[in-house]
Symmetry: D2
Subunit: 348 residues, 4 copies
Amino acid sequence: MTYSVAVSGASGYAGGELLRLLADHPDVEIRTVTAHSNAGQPLIAHQPHLRSLAHLTLQETTPEILSGHDIVFLALPHGQSGQYTDALTDVKLVIDCGADHRLTGKDDWDAFYGGDFHEAWSYGVPELPVGAKKQRDLLVGADRIAAPGCNASTVSLSLAPGVAAGVIDPSDIVSVLAVGPSGAGKSLKPNLLASEILGSANPYAVGGSHRHIPEISQALRAAGATGDIRLSFTPVLVPMARGILATSTARIVGDVTDAQIRAAWEDAYGDETFVQLLPEGQMPRTADVIGANTALMGLAVDRAAGRVVVVTALDNLTKGTAGAAIQSMNIALGLPEGRALSVNGVAP
Amino acid sequence: MTYSVAVSGASGYAGGELLRLLADHPDVEIRTVTAHSNAGQPLIAHQPHLRSLAHLTLQETTPEILSGHDIVFLALPHGQSGQYTDALTDVKLVIDCGADHRLTGKDDWDAFYGGDFHEAWSYGVPELPVGAKKQRDLLVGADRIAAPGCNASTVSLSLAPGVAAGVIDPSDIVSVLAVGPSGAGKSLKPNLLASEILGSANPYAVGGSHRHIPEISQALRAAGATGDIRLSFTPVLVPMARGILATSTARIVGDVTDAQIRAAWEDAYGDETFVQLLPEGQMPRTADVIGANTALMGLAVDRAAGRVVVVTALDNLTKGTAGAAIQSMNIALGLPEGRALSVNGVAP
Amino acid sequence: MTYSVAVSGASGYAGGELLRLLADHPDVEIRTVTAHSNAGQPLIAHQPHLRSLAHLTLQETTPEILSGHDIVFLALPHGQSGQYTDALTDVKLVIDCGADHRLTGKDDWDAFYGGDFHEAWSYGVPELPVGAKKQRDLLVGADRIAAPGCNASTVSLSLAPGVAAGVIDPSDIVSVLAVGPSGAGKSLKPNLLASEILGSANPYAVGGSHRHIPEISQALRAAGATGDIRLSFTPVLVPMARGILATSTARIVGDVTDAQIRAAWEDAYGDETFVQLLPEGQMPRTADVIGANTALMGLAVDRAAGRVVVVTALDNLTKGTAGAAIQSMNIALGLPEGRALSVNGVAP
Amino acid sequence: MTYSVAVSGASGYAGGELLRLLADHPDVEIRTVTAHSNAGQPLIAHQPHLRSLAHLTLQETTPEILSGHDIVFLALPHGQSGQYTDALTDVKLVIDCGADHRLTGKDDWDAFYGGDFHEAWSYGVPELPVGAKKQRDLLVGADRIAAPGCNASTVSLSLAPGVAAGVIDPSDIVSVLAVGPSGAGKSLKPNLLASEILGSANPYAVGGSHRHIPEISQALRAAGATGDIRLSFTPVLVPMARGILATSTARIVGDVTDAQIRAAWEDAYGDETFVQLLPEGQMPRTADVIGANTALMGLAVDRAAGRVVVVTALDNLTKGTAGAAIQSMNIALGLPEGRALSVNGVAP
């Protein structure tokens, strides 16, 4: 069958990437695209790269317009999905790319977001270890899915295997991320102007205030972390439109060998298509995953520092958001998991 | 008096930055520029931005040609300075921008560099705390100076105040750096091609192999660190020609207050011109220090993570190399410390 | 049927893009990849973005190894294809991405390239007007195809409709191109280092020496140009890995109306999928065609200057080289013309 | 004496560059900085690279606050200077970096800008040929100066010598410019977001609508152009914060020799410090003039095309705006022309 699809927030970056991928998906028909201030305009005026969707016009984002589709993607600013999700009861599958349905703990929500708290939905990072299982298992047949935060899923994927295997200490984690500005959306903020970003590296949300921190803790807890989870997390904007390169490091627990450490990640991802551990001595770069649904991961054991270092590269808009959403959709609907998703990046 | 100056490695990036700054220095005359394979060519063929030095021709880098100047700068690949320094006995002041005279420990040299070991010279980072003094005090009247590694000085400046004050634990340090490719020099390596760097973040020397690690340890030891120094250090190449943004984090020691932590850095740098601690809540970006001799530093205390986070921005070629060298020269010669150095960056 | 394919020059940028597109082509099997100095190494060591081709090893580029395939792509430096093409008599379809088989005139070859002259093959720009036909018509059933020069096809596509319709004067043409460095290949040249390209615009081959000039003249002649063709052509390297934005302008002939001018391009490309004329008042940008086989074109009539201005954006590696090659292959083999090619770009 | 200075528009890019240069000028004291919506805030909150000016606070932009200084710089959006200039009668020297006092013809103003027309002031491009003189001669003792448009002065400098010497035809000119986004100011427009500019080349004002066209025509007329001036002018935004690379080409007149052509530019600029014609065969790049007050120019004669090609690189904020303003100020006040201006760029 062909599923009818609506995408809200279609004039933004996450919405655009959803549409780019869905345009090549043989099992869906993109019937409706919606936006807020841009409603009434042609989609292509805001997404001029989506030439095959030149026939679509942006409609208002309302529950009425979104209802009546088989699948609805919400690519709205954080805190805005909730008002729609209650009304979309007739929609078979709703996938929220915002944060509203990611967190299980109301305290975390209140501390990092604020506003109305909404229940958590199935988390859209299929490869994440969840105890002895994978998050994939919890997505089969799901009707409500929360796509991940792009930074959060990058760090969670990086560290969950070691946490699950008990070889790294979740109370001593540091992650520093080089991120492209598209992760911040199409917002008209001075610090996102090209003249401010070109030739510069700009940190933000330094010192524990970034909203993805509780999302990572939640994922590591699900992977099996016990005791405190303490994470120092710093994102740095760098001059590339897309991409996240997360350098994560955690203290080695006890007297595990290098081989035991490496085995934790190999066991977790050895059979995965879209999360690949590189051979020893190799490290990933974001160039190789642009437009792909792939997370590339390199692992080093630094005995002098007593730490494992995991470097993960992914495209924040693809594997970090829209690709994860569609991969999760494929799983929920019983379609081949990789349909309409590419493992190959566009490089150089 | 006017000092006669020779700059070797004048066709490279560090050499070019030395010349850019020296060209505006009223107390020196750039008499000689030397290079290796480019000898015989006009300087401006390799440094087309140095219009005021269009009259200079690159000569061979030999002890004979370098001798007879008041001041000689060596901007040569690591391991190549030593052969010249022994021969320059008649030169009043020699400043080596390579690594050959930075390390005090032969073991460190053997482990991270190899080849002939040379004695350590006065280290050219004037603002670094050294016990109760500053490195500046050790540069007064010096006749042999080792300019710092750009990544090393960035991290050392970031953490030395906290180490000296005993508020952070030197055995639990993580530094991740976003760095521009000019730090790697004008080498013809595939990974330094524009097509490989544009739009990408590329880590290198992951897992404890970077050569600046022992240099940082040495500086922290000089600042007062006792016990083990354990540093996880990861540089990431990002698409900006110049600049280092170092995110360094260390575990908080004992039950010091936030004010006590901040005071450590304020005490160290409150009177400095070229190392500035930003007000609470502010973080630096590399754009603001391009071409300047300034290191900008932001500090956050992350109680949830139990860590201090220090983010430092500087220009690898200026404050990281050539500016540090000239600042140190000014001190050694008894000139005003900031002569020919700008505190203002070129932005945007 | 499934065609067996060999790609030479597989470790370079054009080779990599061919492989990226072919990897998703349902009618081909990539059986062999070859290189020169990198032979013996895994393909993925040189094309780490091509995860689905991790099983391939680079072999030597020899006639013996290339023979025996249904289709051979040559992505070699200019002047090197000829030695192989003579030997590949048993290969059903050979597509040369180099310049060796593009020019019909030996004088042009001698003046701009030099070395052995080889006969011209069918030119791989299907949408080009050729008299009253399209170049597409000449590709049906072809067994030897010359993929275009990326700059040349951009300018030829920009101007051929106006030349064919007689509304612009081919003796008064100026083209200035903003181009990404990937068009220059993976060569280890100082001017292609990231530090030289980042933050800078660099012209090259100024004043009539660029090798694509005769290729453009030939295409415009084929489109119907009579009399002198005089083209001022200047490419400018800018800091983006991929993409060409060509601004071409030519004097308006006689007293044609704006509508007549616009009609020339609408008639030529109105039915094309991969060459799209934007509505009046709109101009293209390279961001929208990255990874796509699409050329986007904007047209303005500047009456004060007496000139038509055509701005065309395309991806030099896709529509400019590898996409054009595969589109031409599809036509030659009777496959759907757009198979394995996307009209949508990867943006932002 | 020390001149007291006020800079309006001090939170923008042009204002920031004025302040960066003035901060090192020994003959001025920056007494007042003003802004519009940012009034009341510290200057350094908006210009964090200007560390030496951390003591300044942005005041309101009003005639009262600007009056009473020896020198006032207006760095305001186009059309906003006029309201202040009438009121600043007591100010010895007013320099407008906006367009309000550039054009001599009201028709041009009405056609390209609109709103109130103001009289033209002395034009701040000292090196421009004006008949047998230089524009410099008209700036001596001036009390009202209009700093140039950055694109306009680049093209005017490129072509005026050839026009003045009668070797190129002003009715057949094409200029295409690669420009950085800082030229568009700190405006919050979607097309200036980093995600839109990174990795892309974006044309704008195509087809004769750019406001700098009449300014160029006026300069070429002043240089000696007779008859029609017809200029096709296309700027292209590229991913570099600063810089203009203008490729200008004009038809060769009559049967002048290559040497005669080259002599026109050599005669015009041979004695200039800040406008330098490169030796034959060399072309400039923007990297070499960043932060400098230098325009670098390359010239080629393309006999096949029948055109002269002039490529000029300058920094839009320095030589294109603030540097030109300060150079003009120096001339007007009888100070050394190059005071506080560097001929050397910051590269790489």
